[in-house]
């Protein structure tokens, strides 16, 4: 079958791969252009997938037919369910992935889907400024297409830093797409972000007997409904702690750090700081935990999670060897920082189409996010929408109320960000509803709308839904129902009381139990949400200038002169945070204190 329309994806990272696969599922043919075909789906930072909120996002990717979930199951080395004792609303499935096998698995998925991979460095787009017709390569070749997805990651104008050195590149040993960066700057407002990574150490040179073992969780779990076998725990991880001498190594060499010396202008993530940052910002803390994670089952290297640094090589050695168990450790690859370009706020909308264009989309770090999972989910949306636009359909947007994907897109588009964006469960107002157990139920309608759920994937989800509804019916019996809300009652307990549950799919029963548990609270949140929106028909309060909204928003409101809060929110420059402040201010003025 040859599709008549082609989506060209620029970049072969986690966003690019999901974009190409989604475009294909949505009915277009897909071409993936990358300068490094051997580095597709690489994990240039920590070899792990999932976590709180992020794990749920992987489930959402699976529910939309994406590949990351199956990849996580297939290449898992160790599984942990984060927050296991804190209630299923915030469970965070996380695996150590085999970072050598994962790219092979993804490459297999691409080949199996019939996606053409073109080796080349994209320097510009042909056509424009609104409708694009091809991607121009550095060797002069053109890759023609009907829609385009930019998934450039850290490669867009990428600059690497280590100590006093600085050189162009998107990752260690990788190229930098400088020309594409200059080309995009002619059309869009671009800002700089920064991130970094930790050194890799030869595992045999670490005295692991001196370290704490990080235990895995022996539970049956699978990210993908398609996986026959779920995650596996094959490898041990270890935990070490830095000490005063590690911090001293940083302090004594502060002047040689490109970060502390402010040679890097880009903004880095607060939640994933470099070790230099930790030492300088929290001087009272003498010890920080360091996780030693296997890179692969077949690799002799370990990733030193928590020691992200861009210090010169001799300082990296001094830092590392100061840690108990690392006295003789050998570094195989040094840590470094990378600064890259991303599109500024307002340059893309909720369909991930770029402002003022008709067929150009973007996903991943170019939109300001960080993390493999965030990139994958955005890639999936951008790829599917690119295909839809190419095929003459309308592009779709996810809903903030029903998915983390929707929360993320809304945060990026409506709120705007000022540092690399990571998904947290608390970013979702109705986090009690956005859980990993019900991802397939929540995403179903978006999947169908986007046209990415078809054939066996769709019937798989439908079967799950059916089983879930059957379980729900059984659990509506009052006694069972009240038991669902007790934290100590497990699925097994309920099955012992109602054997009919045993006939049903385990995961569907679990999801139905968790649904009963949170139902009341979820409804309560919904009511609050609706109540808050109801205030939006209030007039813009006269004292809006003093309400604490941003100066930008004040100017926008003065210029636009909107009557109601809702109209104000429609103005460019008024962000969601301003809306919250303004609504509260308006309510306080109307309330009788």
């Amino acid at each position: 079958m040859s599709a008549s329309k082609t989506v060209v994806v620029i970049g072969g990272g986690h966003a690019g791969v999901e974009a190409a696969l989604a475009a294909k599922r949505a009915g277009a043919s897909a071409v993936l252009v990358t300068a490094e075909p051997d580095a597709i789906s690489l994990m240039p930072c920590n070899p792990a997938l999932g976590g709180v909120a992020k794990g749920t996002l992987i489930r959402e990717i699976d529910a939309l037919g994406g590949a990351m979930a199956a990849g996580a199951d297939e290449t898992s080395l160790q599984f942990r369910m984060l927050n296991m004792r804190k209630g299923p609303a915030v469970w965070g499935p996380r695996v150590q992935a085999d970072s050598l096998c994962y790219p092979l698995f993804m490459r297999k998925m691409l080949d199996r889907s019939g996606i053409r991979i073109v080796k080349g460095l994209v320097v510009a787009l042909r056509g424009g400024p609104d409708f694009f017709t091809g991607a121009e390569l550095s060797d002069g070749g053109i890759v023609p297409g009907d829609a385009f997805v930019l998934a450039t990651g850290t490669y867009l104008g990428g600059v690497l830093f280590m100590g006093g050195e600085k050189w162009p590149g998107g990752r260690y040993g990788g190229l930098s797409s400088r020309l594409l960066d200059s080309y995009l700057k002619t059309m869009f407002h671009v800002e700089r972000f920064k991130t970094g990574t930790s050194p890799r150490v030869v595992t045999g040179t670490i005295r692991t007997d001196a370290l704490e073992i990080q235990d895995d969780h022996d539970v049956r779990y699978r990210f993908s409904l398609d996986s026959k076998e779920g995650v596996r725990s094959l490898k041990k991880c270890h935990l070490a702690r830095t000490n005063r001498r590690t911090a001293e190594a940083v302090r004594e060499n502060a002047g040689r750090s490109p970060l502390i010396g402010k040679r890097i202008g880009g903004v880095g993530p607060r939640y994933c700081p470099s070790f230099e940052d930790k030492v300088m910002k929290f001087p009272e803390r003498h010890s920080h935990p360091i996780h030693i994670e296997p890179v692969s089952e077949t690799s002799r290297l370990s990733y030193i999670n928590g020691l992200s640094t861009s210090m010169p090589q001799d300082v990296q050695y001094r830092m590392l060897r100061s840690i108990d168990g690392f006295e003789k450790a050998e570094i195989a690859a040094f840590g470094y920082a990378v600064e890259y370009s991303r599109l500024a706020w307002g340059e893309f909308g909720a369909t991930l189409m770029l402002r003022g264009t008709d067929n150009l989309f973007a996903a991943g770090q170019i939109l300001g996010t960080s993390g493999y999972e965030e990139a994958g989910a955005l890639g999936l949306l951008a790829g599917a929408n690119a295909a839809r636009v190419a095929l003459g359909f309308s592009a779709e947007t996810p809903d903030r109320r029903s998915s983390y994907l929707g929360v993320m897109v809304d945060d990026l588009v409506a709120k705007g960000i000022d540092e690399p964006y990571r998904l947290f469960s608390s970013r979702a107002e109705n986090r009690l509803h956005l859980r990993q157990d019900n991802a397939h139920l929540r995403m179903n309608s978006l999947g169908v709308k986007l046209g990415v759920l078809r054939g066996t994937r769709l019937s798989g989800v439908q079967r799950f839904e059916e089983q879930y509804e059957k379980a729900g019916l059984l659990l509506s019996e009052p006694l069972l129902n009240s038991l669902c809300r007790r934290p100590e009652i497990t699925r097994e307990c309920l099955e012992a009381r109602c054997s009919a549950l045993r006939e049903l799919d385990e995961e569907a029963v679990q999801a139905a139990i968790i649904h009963e548990k949170y139902k009341g609270y979820v409804r309560r949140q919904d009511r609050r949400y609706l109540a808050a929106r109801q205030h939006w028909n209030r007039p813009v309060p006269a004292g809006f200038r003093k309400s604490g909204i941003s100066f930008e928003a004040v100017q926008a409101i003065e210029a636009g002169n909107p009557e109601t809060l809702e109209e104000a929110f429609g103005l460019p420059g008024v962000k969601a945070a301003d809306m919250e402040v303004l609504t509260i201010y308006a309510m306080a003025q109307g309330c009788s204190t």
């Binding site: 920590n46 976590g51 709180v52 942990r80 984060l82 927050n83 004792r85 804190k86 209630g87 609303a89 915030v90 993530p269 607060r270 939640y271 994933c272 700081p273 930790k278 910002k281 929290f282 803390r285 010890s287 920080h288 935990p289 996780h291 999670n305 928590g306 992200s308 947290f424 469960s425 608390s426 970013r427 986090r431 009690l432 934290p487 949170y518 609270y521 309560r524 949140q525 609050r528 808050a532 006269a542 004292g543 200038r545 003093k546 309400s547 604490g548 100066f551 004040v554 945070a577 919250e580 402040v581 509260i584 201010y585 309510m587 306080a588 003025q589 109307g590 309330c591 009788s592 204190t593």
Partner: protein, 401 residues
Amino acid sequence: MTAANDVIAAIATPHGLSALAVIRLSGQGCSSLVECAAGLTRGRLKGMRRARLSFPNGGDMVALGWPPGKSYTGEEMVELICHGIPERVSAVYTVLIDAGARPALPGEFTSRAWKNGKLSDHEIFALAAAVETGTETEPIPSGLIRLQTEIGSALEALEGEIEFQDEACLSSVENDDVFLRCMREADMLVKNMHRIQRTESVYISGPVNAGKSTLFNTLGGKSIALVHPEPGTTRDGARTELRIGERRFILIDTPGFGGEGIDRDALETVMEMITEHDTIVWLSPDGKDAPALLRGKSKRLIQAVSKSDTHQISGLRLSSVTGEGIAALKEKLFLRSIVPIEEKAMQIAALIREANRHVIEEPAIAASLLGEAEAAVEELTGCRHGLHAVERALSVLCVGK
């Protein structure tokens, strides 16, 4: 296009003749702008410095310079202190604008101070309220602010526990402590309800000769307003304090509508005085509804029929002669002002208590309930924490694998 820290200038003292006037500048490069404009050597005003200088047509003056971080706005700032002769002041101001300073927007210095962390949200709110309504506004009760802060810290702790349990190097967040403080503050709030009061304005309005001033004197218990059977006697709004229970109100008499000639002005005067959060008592001797214009102005409008001793029209019947309906009106005013906030305080306390029960086993439920309590408190204080709980947690926790 205005940058976030471009140089802004404003005359900081009121217009008119005075001994001294102050012109203020803030923003990156403002000291060199003044140095250039006044022909001083470069760098003369850098840091905490004082200099004498003179401007064409502006005479001699003193300039004070603040380095970034030390000033009111947190930016580089210069204050020029000159003689308060209006012509001179505006001449100096014009030179500064010509030199590249931008006239500041209303509240822009303060907004910069807030952005740069020099003023808290609470301070901004109190300041805004004070500027808006003169000195009559009481600041937000400190108990309410403490409660808001405590709920904020409890949420921060919870979010830190949920998001970063595996990666943060925390020495275990002491949720219990935070929650105890939270509950204590909520209980105090309920107990001290009577201390929470913001003086409310109650406008008595109605057609001419409806008996507004008579009601005013009856309620206020004094003869302040000039009462006369001749319609249109009241020209300016007399005001007095009215106490009902533990609540305080400012009672304001207004000129009547519906006469001839001068009454257009009367309507305009009244409309200008009243804001949307004031209470209006609409008084009419014939039971007619308040004009739409007035009804649109305030959602809190009480309609009453005056001179009930002379007719049988139904409604909230008031008579200053027999005293009919006066107690009912007082009760209405009292209930409207106190019930929502008292109820809310109890709701908040209950939410915090329930949240506390879920902290260990279901922190997400606890956070949801606490979020609801936070939103309720925000409604009372009118100020919202600019940052999301998880972002606040990030600024105090050393997080990151």
